[in-house]
């Protein structure tokens, strides 16, 4: 990447007003395998691509349950992600204990963002190298947020992070306007289709992805392999044919879309 004289310290500004260390941390997110989130008025679906270090090992866990009404999908340095998930679980359970009521997602996300910001303003710390897609339910409905290593957070209807997420984003951009009114099943289908975009032609199998759902009257839980495979079968039976219509376009759109991060072979051991 860049080799600047202003990028040694997180507390050093560049003359153009940038904090390079923070931006480098955001690059780490792009190296991780894809994670996708979408929401409707009443449900949130989080999905991720299962990546294993080698054929011998099991795949990394990228989606965590924070509480019955909150889940998080991560991309980047998994270790950082695990620590932040533990923080989120702790905040959530402490709130539940004091108030006997679920912690509103928006408030959790702000605490997370403030925690990340601290690391961008201390010379003895480094920013967290993980992006978090936080999905949850509260009084004002279903929400999906993206927390950045920079300490910023944004609310989304649908979003994708990690390597080759641009392909998924393109797919989601075409469809997001209908998500609010989507049924739970359609939302799950769209999530899996978005995952497929990031696989760049690799056949989509249920063993390659993890899907989780939460909604009104439905606590956070993972879908089992069978259910995922069933959804895949509804559109994967006729691979290159018409069907949704979006499929043929999707193949064409996926090819030119190149991700800024390196290919799978270059993934550093600590990143997933």
């Amino acid at each position: 990447m860049f080799r600047n004289q202003y990028d040694t310290d997180v507390t050093t500004w560049s003359p153009t007003g940038r904090l390079f260390q923070v931006e480098y941390a955001m690059e780490a997110v792009k190296q991780g395998s894809a994670a996708i989130g979408l929401r409707s008025r009443s449900h949130v679906v989080l999905a991720s691509v299962n990546k294993a270090q080698s054929e011998l090992s099991s795949h990394q866990r990228k989606i965590f349950k924070v509480d019955d009404h909150i889940g998080v999908a991560i991309a980047g340095l998994t270790a950082d992600g695990r620590v932040l998930s533990r923080y989120m679980r702790s905040e959530s359970i402490n709130h539940s204990f004091t108030y006997e009521s679920p912690l509103p997602v928006g408030r959790l996300v702000v605490r997370l963002a403030d925690k990340a910001q601290v690391c961008t303003q201390r010379s003895w710390k480094r920013p967290y190298g993980v992006g978090l897609l936080v999905g949850g339910l509260d009084e004002s409905g279903a929400h999906l947020y993206y927390n950045c290593p920079s300490g910023n957070y944004f609310e989304y209807q649908a979003f994708a992070i990690g390597s080759r997420s641009q392909a998924a984003k393109t797919y989601l951009e075409r469809r997001f306007k209908s998500f609010n009114e989507s049924s739970r099943e359609d939302l799950i289908k769209d999530a899996i289709l978005a995952i497929r975009e990031t696989l760049q032609g690799e056949t989509l199998k249920s063993s390659l992805c993890t899907v989780s759902v939460l909604g009104v009257d439905e606590p956070f839980h993972f879908l089992d392999q069978e259910s995922i495979q069933k959804v895949i079968d509804t559109f994967e039976k006729v691979p290159e044919e018409e069907e949704d219509g979006g499929e043929a376009e999707a193949e064409a759109a996926a090819a030119p879309a190149e991700q800024g991060g390196a290919g799978d072979q270059d993934v550093a051991p600590m990143e997933m």
Binding site: F97, T98, Y99, E100, S101, E139, S140
Partner: protein, 245 residues
């Protein structure tokens, strides 16, 4: 009610200075609170007296206060501790409002927060000397609960503190039913308050009734109950048994 307890090393007894750092006994106290759920929400009644031991010293104390948009807190026991609790809740409500995010503290959350506070103080042998009644309505659901000074906490359809526990609850157990109208609810509360007025030495005939519904909280103006003292038995109380009262 002083009692010495071993602290620190296990064999030293609390000194006089340390004693004054924790609650030993109440000074200015309020008497019972009675509250019931009714059709549209919750009704709560309390008198306006503050006793200083056996003297009825203060006659204009409001022992029920609105908390946020959805809750009403009534307290019996030490008035200064009640004021302290109101300060804690003020801060809580303020921070909740500052989020400005469409979420707000409901009666269940406030009740549980108070339970935590009361129980933690009790564990330090420094209780807030109150029994609190928390009522409220949020999203159409009525809520009524109670917390005592030792952290005992529960919800019910009707609650009463202090003397009310002994004199009012039997009446409520017999005559309360779901979906009381506002008028019937007030009548039921007044019946309880009248009994308390006759029989509780620290009660005064100046009471307020508070109502909380989905729309919000209203605390009535103070008023008095009609009482009757001309029972024949009061004229010659010892007639039936010389030497008794």
């Amino acid at each position: 009610m002083t009692f010495t307890i071993p602290i620190d090393n296990g064999d030293s007894v609390k000194t006089a200075e340390a004693d004054s750092q924790r609650t030993l006994y109440p000074y200015v106290t309020g008497t019972s609170i009675v509250a019931i759920k009714y059709k549209d929400g919750v009704l709560m009644a309390s008198d306006m007296g503050g006793s200083y031991g056996s003297t009825l010293r203060y006659k204009n104390i409001e022992r029920m206060k609105a908390i946020g948009k959805h809750s009403l807190l009534g307290a019996s026991g030490e008035i200064s501790d009640f004021q302290e609790i109101l300060r804690y809740l003020d801060e809580l409500v303020l921070n909740d409002n500052m989020w400005d995010d469409g979420n707000s503290l409901g009666p269940k959350e406030v009740h549980n927060y108070l339970t935590r506070v009361m129980y933690n103080r009790r564990n330090k042998f420094n209780p807030l000397w109150n029994t609190l009644v928390l009522g409220g309505v949020k999203n159409g659901e009525s809520y009524l609960g109670m917390v005592s000074m030792i952290g005992v906490s529960f919800e019910d359809n009707h609650v009463a503190t202090g003397f009310g526990n002994h004199l009012a609850r039997p009446i409520l157990r017999d005559e309360w039913h779901a979906d009381l109208s506002f008028e019937d609810g007030v009548k039921l509360l007044e019946k309880c308050m009248r009994v308390l007025l006759y029989r509780d030495r620290s009660a005064i005939n100046k009471l307020q009734i508070a109502k909380i519904t989905e729309e919000g909280v209203t605390v009535s103006q103070p008023y008095s109950l009609k009482t009757f003292w001309e029972f024949k038995a009061f004229n010659n109380p010892t007639a039936g048994a010389e030497g008794s009262w």
